[in-house]
């Protein structure tokens, strides 16, 4: 794949690539999926990719990402091997059912889908397209808006694999399902994983989505997750990103919620050269609840962008957004959160808060809270702050005998804790807690394997209060 030249735009280049490889891309397609791809391609031709003039992209420049000479695997290159040899997630005591994608493809090529005792189906999307075409066709593409500039259309045109989770009605999936996205390629690589999650009535699912890079090579992940929550369904969704400086990740998440369903999402960005997380939650029936939490800790010249859109399309729904970030060095962060309250969405409760701490004069945070309300009986609020550590609090700690460094770390930790303590999986919360503490001390780096896989098997002791002080 040749890179974008002076004479071709990124769009033209990707369209050309699509047409040249169409046969391979669509090998596993059902008819509706092929039709969906065509729509996506038409949308790219019409709307193009976002640029700095596109709404929600004013502070995130996509252009440089397309300059690399990326390779795309148009077929599953995974060979049977023991994934645990190159990767183990060792969040202490975290017991999950894990699925691993390597360079966007399910690591166990052609493996059958797994059906758990309770009827839950887990496995590769490519396989699901073959085995359960009707189920896939019914949902895929239905939550995604491809009619605007953005990378959702690009994912829709190019995706070939990803994960598929189907939880039937009335099933509580006990163990969290963990999706591990690994990028391991000697050459710059572009991947378009696509995930489809369907949670049935009164069912319950916890999904932990980890993005990792195993090498320091250049990669561009453009993933998309569609989630459908039926009536009274409950889902908790964790996204943990700890990637190398040369990794770019764009994550689009589209969620459709039915009556009385609940979603809690936690987006934790601990590292990453370029990260953009988009969450679109549609509260389509009454009394649906969504809670979106986020934490980003970035330094050097990392860039993180969180774009949220909560669509209150029905009455009596409740949404909360809490995103917090700590930015060091020349790091930049963008938060754009929009709450839309449609005409019929009376008795809506919608809250949004974004708080940023800048540790240097060079770090930058752009925050754009937006409320668009067409109903009259609603309670909505939004707030955003960009600031430094509270000097009053710093002074308070120092008058108790703590040195400036300890005081700063404690306050940053406290700032992050508001988000961290919302994590309900105990071992995960404890591990994230330790990682954040290490991160704030400047001790967390990308291990050659996984970030959650620190070199020591022993759990690190929380040691801001370290007795050795």
């Amino acid at each position: 794949m040749s890179n974008v030249t002076e004479n071709t735009t990124a769009e033209q280049h990707m369209l050309k690539l699509f047409h040249a490889n169409f046969e391979q891309i669509s090998t596993l397609d059902t008819k509706p999926i092929t039709a969906l791809r065509q729509k996506a391609i038409d949308s790219i031709s019409e709307h193009g990719f976002p640029n700095l003039e596109t709404e929600n992209w004013r502070y995130t420049n996509l252009e440089p990402l397309f300059l690399a000479d990326y390779h795309i695997d148009f077929s599953n290159q995974s060979r049977p091997f023991d994934i645990e040899k190159i990767f183990t997630c060792d969040v202490y005591d975290l017991d999950t059912f894990s699925i691993t994608l390597l360079n966007g493809w399910y690591v166990y090529k052609n493996a059958p889908l797994t059906t758990l005792g309770n009827g839950t189906i887990i496995g590769s999307l490519a396989k699901a397209m073959e085995v359960y075409p009707d189920l896939v066709n019914e949902y895929i593409g239905n939550a995604t808006d491809i009619n605007q500039p953005g990378l959702a259309a690009l994912n829709t045109a190019f995706f070939q694999d990803g994960i598929f989770i189907y939880v039937p009605d009335g099933v509580e999936v006990e163990k969290p399902i963990q999706l591990i996205n690994i990028i391991n390629s000697p050459d710059p690589i572009m991947v378009h994983p696509r995930h489809l999650v369907i949670v049935g009535k009164k069912s319950k699912l916890t999904l932990v989505h980890c993005d990792h890079s195993l090498t320091h090579n250049i990669s561009f992940t453009n993933s998309l997750t569609e989630t459908f929550l039926a009536r009274e369904a409950n889902m908790e969704f964790y996204k943990i990103q700890n990637k190398g400086a040369n990794s770019a990740v764009i994550n689009n998440s589209f969620i459709k919620q039915k009556q009385d369903s609940n979603l809690i999402s936690h987006t934790l960005v601990l590292n990453g050269g370029f990260t953009k997380n988009v969450i679109n939650a549609e509260l389509g029936e009454k009394n649906a609840n969504t809670e979106l939490n986020g934490l980003y800790l970035v330094d050097s010249n990392q860039h993180v962008d969180n774009q949220l859109f909560v669509d209150h399309a029905s009455p009596e729904c409740h949404s909360e957004q809490l995103y917090k970030g700590i930015l060091d060095d020349e790091a930049t962060a963008v938060f754009s959160g929009k709450i839309m309250v449609r005409k019929d969405a009376q008795k809506t409760l919608a809250y949004q808060n974004n708080k940023n701490i800048l540790l240097t004069d060079e770090a930058k945070a752009n925050t754009q809270p937006m409320l668009e309300i067409y109903a009259d009986d609603v309670k909505c609020s939004h707030g955003a702050t960009v600031g430094q550590l509270d000097p009053e609090a710093m002074f308070y700690l120092r008058t108790r005998g703590m040195c400036e460094r300890t005081a700063r770390q404690l306050l940053m930790y406290a700032f992050a804790a508001e988000v961290v303590r919302k994590i309900t999986i105990d071992p995960l919360r404890e591990r994230i807690d330790q990682m954040i503490e290490k991160r704030l001390k400047g001790e967390l780096s990308i291990c050659d394997q996984c970030v959650l896989h620190c070199n020591s098997k022993e759990p690190t002791v929380f040691n801001i209060d370290v007795s050795k002080l």
């Binding site: 509270d390 000097p391 009053e392 609090a393 002074f395 308070y396 700690l397 120092r398 008058t399 108790r400 005998g401 703590m402 040195c403 400036e404 300890t406 005081a407 404690l410 306050l411 930790y413 406290a414 700032f415 992050a416 804790a417 508001e418 961290v420 303590r421 801001i464 209060d465 007795s467 050795k468 002080l469």
Partner: protein, 254 residues
């Protein structure tokens, strides 16, 4: 113990303390009274080391050492404690964690071994009893969601844990009901030792019914305009600050 001589302090060019003098010896309790905006809290902050202010002249000696050059944490480790008028909330950091960090930083400074977890817990229980604090505030995050009274009691508890030589209580009585006030006063009295000293900053005489001062100073316009014994506080209660202002010949500002 504390010797402040001809101290002038300003912020953004505005003088707050002018030619201020105060001598505090071991075993004494000093009350500093005065209307709002006369520099009481500034005095407390300056002794504790807040860097918001410019020290224009004068000196502050503590145990014979120049305090002005010392970082706030060093002052704390040397035995100075400031009870805040508005204690800061630190969500996500438990009281135990916070105090253990503080105590062990102080111990390290004095070349002492850190307290083990068990020793620390024992000390905490003992001090809770000493100052009659039975609530579970030590299990919670620092001041988070505490009522006004709980915050002030928590300041006294921290004081009991850190065992300062010189404690400055900045308006610790403000916003307290009578029960909380008694807990605070009782704590201060129980922690009183011949080798320690306390400066109580207050607007009202009420607290001084429970913490009996050896000296009362009235602060006006950035300096002490009248000093006396505990009876001065009672006189002030009767006659009001206007009386001192006129007596000192200070023009009415505002």
């Amino acid at each position: 113990m504390l010797s402040i001589k001809d101290l002038s302090v300003s912020i953004h060019g505005k003088t707050i303390l002018r030619d201020f003098n105060l001598e505090v010896n071991a075993g004494e309790i000093h009350a500093i009274m005065g209307p709002n905006g006369t520099g009481k809290s500034t005095l407390a902050s300056v002794i504790a080391g807040r860097d918001l202010f410019d020290i224009d002249k004068g000196e502050i000696l503590y145990m014979g050492k120049d305090l002005i050059e010392m970082e706030p944490e060093v002052r704390a480790r040397e035995g100075i404690f400031l009870g805040f008028q508005y204690p800061v909330e630190i969500p996500g950091v438990s009281m135990a964690n916070f105090l253990r960090t503080a105590i062990n930083e102080k111990r390290k400074y004095h070349a002492l071994e850190p307290l083990s977890g068990a020793e620390f817990l024992k000390l905490m229980e003992e001090r809770k009893k000493l100052v009659d604090i039975h609530s579970k505030l030590t299990n919670r995050s620092v001041n988070e969601g505490f009522s006004g009274g709980e915050k002030k009691k928590n300041e006294i508890f921290q004081m009991a844990m850190l065992e300062p030589r010189l404690a400055i209580l900045d308006e610790t009585d403000s916003g307290l009901d009578i029960d909380a006030l008694k807990v605070v006063a009782n704590g201060v009295n129980k922690l009183r030792k011949p080798e320690n000293a306390t400066i109580v900053i207050t607007h009202y005489q009420r607290l001084l019914e429970y913490i009996v001062p050896d000296f009362v100073h009235v602060l006006f316009d950035g300096r002490i305009v009248k000093s006396g014994g505990k009876e001065l506080a009672i006189e002030l209660e009767e006659k009001g600050y206007e009386w001192v202002r006129k007596e000192a010949g200070i023009e009415e500002t505002l």
